[in-house]
Symmetry: C2
Subunit: 268 residues, 2 copies
C-alpha cells in the first residue's frame, strides 16, 4: 500500500526539525506551536451553538494545537463568533481549522472560502479540500488564502467505512500536494503517505481511547495506533467534548498523543 | 466506458413515461414539472447577495425547472431569503437545488444539512453529495431528508479538468444510488450512466452555447452535446445570469435544451 511504501512506522524527525525544513508558512508555524505547547491534540468542536463553541474553545484551548470547527452546524453563527474564536486562538495559542471539506470547482470553492456568511478565510488558519474536482480546487482556494498565510490540507484518506479515498485517489492527492507546497502543507489521512518528505503534516480523525465505530460509518482508532501509522495530529471529537469531565479527557488524549509522538520519534 | 455501456445516445423515454415508473417522490415530481412546464433548464444562480438572488429567481423562474443555489456564497443570507425562495418556487413552479456537495461522514453531513444557519433541508427540494466518504453519507442525509420528501443527487462525474470522479469511482456512485432509490433520484454527471433504468435523472453542469473552459478548470459543452450524452437537465450559470439580456439567454437555453430532449427522445 501507499502507507507501507511511505514507511509509516519508521522513526520520525522531531516537530522542531521538521519546522526548520518546512517551506509553508502555516505548516512551519504549526510545527513550532506543537513543540512549544507540547501537544498534538486537535479537538473536533462539533457543537451547535455559539455559546457552546466559545465555551469549549476557552475550556480546552490550553490543551490543544488545533481547534477543528464545523462552523456550518452552528445555528447562531455571527461575525462576533468568528472574532471571539480568533481572540481565543491568540489567548490559548492554538490554530483554527475549519473542516469545510471544499469539494467544488475552483471558482465556486474560492467564493465559498472567502465570501458568504462565514468568510472562512478571514478567521480559519487552516481549511481542507477534497481532490475529486481535480487540481483547479487548489488553485481557486489558493487565490483567496495564500495572501493571508493560510494553509490547506488535502483529504487523502477518510476514516469512514467504504471510503473511496484509497489507491490511485490517494496517490492523486499526494501528487497535487507535492505540486502546491506553497499552500498545501499536509493531509487528512489515516497514515503517513510520503516517505521522503518530512514537511507535510498528517492529521487523523476517528480517534478514541477505545476502538470501535458509530452507526453512520465512522470508525475509531486509538492515539497510539494513529501515531504509529505515521500521523502527526490526533483529532478527537465526541471522546472529549461529550466526556463527563472534558478537561480530564482532553489531558488524557493530549498525553496519549504526545507520548506516542515521543515514542515514534525516538525521544522516549 | 461506463457511459458507452449505458447506451447514452440511444432513444430515451419521455419525461412523462419516466415519471410513471419513478419510485422517488422528488424525482417523480421533477419529471412531471419538466413535462408540464416544457423546460429542462436549470439556472446556477451564483450571485453573492440576497437581493440579486431573489431578483434572479423571480426574473428567470418562468423558464426553469430547477434553481440551483450556492447559498454559502450569499453574504447577507437570512431566514427571510429562504422563505422568499420557497415562495418564488411555488409562484413560478420550479424546484430549489442547493448545490452543497456534502462530502463529510454521515453524522456531520446530517447536521450540516438540517442545522446551522442555513437549515438546507427546510427549503431545498434537492441537494447533492459526493460519494468519497462511502455510503454512510447517504444514510446520514437520508435521516434528515426523506421525511420531508427531499431528494438527493450523487456526484458521479464532474465537469472540471482532472476530475477523479471516473471509472471505479463513478461505478461506486452508481451502486450507492441503486441501493438507495428511496432517497437518491439521480446524478450530477456528464453522461447517462445506467442503461436499464430510466428512473434516474441526470443533471449536467458546465453548459454553454459556446464550448470552452474558464481559467480555474471548468469545461463547457453545448446543450445538444449534453443531452446527446444522455443527460436530462442542463445547468447553465454565467451563460445566462451574466448575459446582457438574461431573459433572452434563458429562453435560448431553455429552447436549446428542450429541443435536444425532443430530438433524443424521438419526438422531433
Amino acid at each position: 500500500s501507499i502507507a507501507e511504501k511511505a514507511g509509516s512506522t519508521s522513526k520520525r524527525l522531531t516537530y522542531s526539525a521538521r519546522s526548520q525544513i518546512s517551506v509553508n508558512a502555516c505548516g512551519k508555524a504549526l510545527f513550532e506551536l506543537m513543540e512549544r505547547k507540547k501537544t498534538n491534540l486537535s479537538i473536533a468542536a462539533d457543537v451547535s451553538t455559539k455559546s457552546e463553541l466559545i465555551a469549549l474553545a476557552d475550556l480546552l484551548g490550553p490543551y490543544i494545537c488545533v481547534l477543528k470547527t464545523h462552523i456550518d452546524i452552528v445555528v447562531d453563527f455571527d461575525d462576533d463568533l468568528a472574532a471571539q474564536l480568533k481572540a481565543l486562538s491568540e489567548k490559548h495559542d492554538f490554530m483554527i481549522f475549519e473542516d469545510r471539506k471544499f469539494a467544488d470547482i475552483g471558482n465556486t470553492s474560492m467564493l465559498q472560502y472567502s465570501q458568504g456568511v462565514y468568510k472562512i478565510v478571514d478567521w480559519a488558519h487552516i481549511t481542507n479540500a477534497h481532490v475529486v474536482p481535480g487540481p483547479g480546487i487548489i488553485k481557486g482556494l489558493k487565490e483567496a488564502g495564500i495572501k493571508k498565510d493560510r494553509g490547506l490540507l488535502l483529504l487523502a484518506e477518510m476514516s469512514s467505512a467504504g471510503s473511496l479515498a484509497t489507491g490511485s485517489y490517494t496517490q492523486a492527492a499526494i501528487n497535487m500536494a507535492k505540486e502546491n507546497k506553497d499552500f498545501v502543507f499536509g493531509f487528512i489521512s489515516q497514515n503517513k503517505l510520503i516517505a521522503d518528505d518530512e514537511t507535510f503534516i498528517y492529521m487523523s480523525p476517528g480517534v478514541n481511547l477505545t476502538e470501535g465505530k458509530d452507526n453512520l460509518g465512522q470508525q475509531y482508532r486509538t492515539p497510539d495506533m494513529v501515531v504509529a501509522a505515521g500521523s502527526d495530529i490526533i483529532i478527537v471529537g465526541r471522546g472529549v467534548y461529550k466526556a463527563a469531565d472534558p478537561i480530564a479527557a482532553a489531558k488524557a488524549y493530549r498525553d496519549a498523543g504526545w507520548n506516542a509522538y515521543l515514542k515514534y520519534s525516538g525521544q522516549l
